[in-house]
């Protein structure tokens, strides 16, 4: 899976899952994915939407290598490092913001410029010596995003990174994230339930069906869509119609 010769080039990804099932606590097998296939090109930003419970978060965990219990294959080409923004910030409460970010860097003592740049751009400079317990939800989320970027990943996985934040904060965070991705092109997968999130940073959206999930629709979202509210709205209505929930 790892290929050193591709170092520096964002990863590409081939997902071909025949079957993924869970064992529920009552012992019944629940099939979450069946024949789920798609490909993501290097440096592409793709949003994944779908009804709740269709396995979007599970898929991110499988792609990250945290869940290997499935039939099929996930083939990754590229340098192999992964940045993950979990639904919860998942920060070390006993380490400062700066230490949390440094921890995932490949050369923690030798990448001050990278650290400072991320702190600066994510507006975390004033909080670098704070502990996560002293941060608001929005700030903690920003640290989690900053940390994922500090790993200089070939693949960035974002699991509902804007959930439970208020609208102005979401807009700012999206702008910052977009700027980061422009600065250093990174293959990115964004799991979200809001079309606005997808529209703001993704160039493509994959719509999943209900369980057992497969790809229902694969829609391009270029700058042309962003500039055309009527078209964006039509796409949003189409997705909502396909997913079957408003």
């Amino acid at each position: 899976m790892k290929d050193v010769s591709h170092a520096g080039v964002p990863d590409s990804l081939d997902v071909a899952i025949q079957r993924k099932a869970f064992e529920s606590s009552s012992g019944a097998r629940i099939e979450v994915m069946a024949d789920l296939r798609f490909r993501i090109e290097s440096a592409q930003t793709v949003a994944i939407m779908g009804p709740s419970g269709c396995g979007k978060s599970t898929l991110l965990r499988m792609i990250a290598g945290l869940d290997a219990d499935y039939e099929g294959g996930i083939v990754r080409e590229g340098q192999g490092r992964t940045g993950f923004v979990f639904q919860e910030p998942t920060l070390l409460a006993w380490r400062t913001v700066e230490q949390n970010i440094r921890l995932v860097m490949q050369r923690p003592d030798d990448q001050d410029a990278l650290l400072e740049g991320i702190l600066e751009r994510m507006e975390l400079m004033a909080h670098r010596r704070h502990f996560p317990g002293e941060l608001s939800v929005g700030l903690a989320r920003r640290v989690a995003i900053g940390r994922a970027l500090a790993a200089l990943p070939g693949l960035l996985l974002l699991d509902e990174p804007f959930a439970s934040l208020d609208a102005p904060l979401i807009a700012r965070l999206q702008a910052q994230l977009k700027a980061e991705l422009a600065l250093r092109p990174t293959t990115t997968i964004l799991v979200t339930h809001r079309f606005e999130d997808a529209l703001s940073i993704a160039s493509r959206v994959l719509v999943f069906s209900a369980r057992p999930s497969h790809v229902l629709a694969d829609i391009a979202l270029g700058p042309d869509v962003q500039a055309d509210p009527a078209r964006a709205d039509a796409i949003r209505r189409e997705i909502e119609h396909v997913i079957g929930q408003p």
């Binding site: 998942t90 923690p108 940390r147």
Partner: protein
């Protein structure tokens, strides 16, 4: 304020008991104080105290290091836990005296045998405490460390040990008080020096004054260690926790 009253009350009761029972059975506080000074001047107090403290330190370090490693292994893997849990139960219920006697029989009356005996007595408690901590570790943080491929050593230092810190602290506290008591028994049974040895020989001479002098001196030293070492370390570890009002 109340503490001073408590201390004075203690001395008063002691003095009264001494007057009722006689100085031979219960020597008065000033006699014990004098005996302490005598032992201190002759150098015996410091030598014995030093020997005992070294044994406490060695067996404590051994028991904690092994206990943390085994506790993490058992807390993380159900298989390891199932395999060694019966051993743990046997060790937990083995009287300290049996372990000490067997260690001296099998290992000879040596320093190594003594320190090992103390460490083995403390080990199962540490393992049980640390195992609880390892079981309670955050899965999300483990996933995070896996995804970001944090190297082993950094993971231990920044992710694993801080989560175990409260359990290690609890294990250390109960461990220290348990270990120094067992060390005295080991010294009584098979060492030629140390506080336990002195108390043993004082017992044979029926020298209650010397027994009390050594006991109080030792309690004082352990309290000092607790306050000057254990508590500051605990405070430092808990630095990140929001202050409780």
């Amino acid at each position: 304020m109340l503490r001073i009253v408590s201390l004075l009350l203690f001395l008063g009761v002691w003095l009264a008991a001494s007057m009722m029972a006689g100085a031979r059975l219960v020597p008065a506080p000033q006699q014990v104080g004098l005996a302490f000074l005598e032992e201190l001047m002759s150098g015996a107090m410091l030598a014995n105290m030093g020997a005992t403290l070294l044994r406490v330190a060695a067996s404590f370090t051994l028991a904690m290091a092994l206990g943390v490693a085994i506790g993490i292994a058992m807390g993380r893997s159900r298989k390891v836990d199932r395999l060694f849990d019966p051993w743990l139960l046997i060790l937990l219920n083995m009287p300290a005296l049996v372990v000490i006697v067997l260690a001296f029989i099998w290992g000879g009356l040596t320093e190594t045998a003594g320190i090992l005996a103390v460490a083995i007595n403390k080990l199962p408690n540490t393992v049980v405490t640390i195992r609880e901590g390892a079981r309670a570790m955050d899965r999300g943080l483990k996933d995070m460390a896996d995804v970001f491929q944090i190297p082993r050593l950094a993971r231990l230092r920044h992710v694993v040990l801080p989560q175990l810190a409260p359990y290690i602290a609890a294990g250390s506290r109960s461990g220290l008080s348990l270990i120094w008591k067992i060390v005295l028994v080991v010294e009584l049974l098979g060492r030629p020096n140390g506080v336990g040895f002195e108390i043993g020989s004082a017992f044979q001479l029926f020298d209650v004054t010397r027994i009390l002098a050594y006991s109080f001196a030792f309690v004082l030293v352990m309290l000092t260690i607790e306050m000057s070492l254990v508590q500051p370390i605990e405070r430092r570890i808990a630095r990140w926790r929001p202050r409780q009002s």
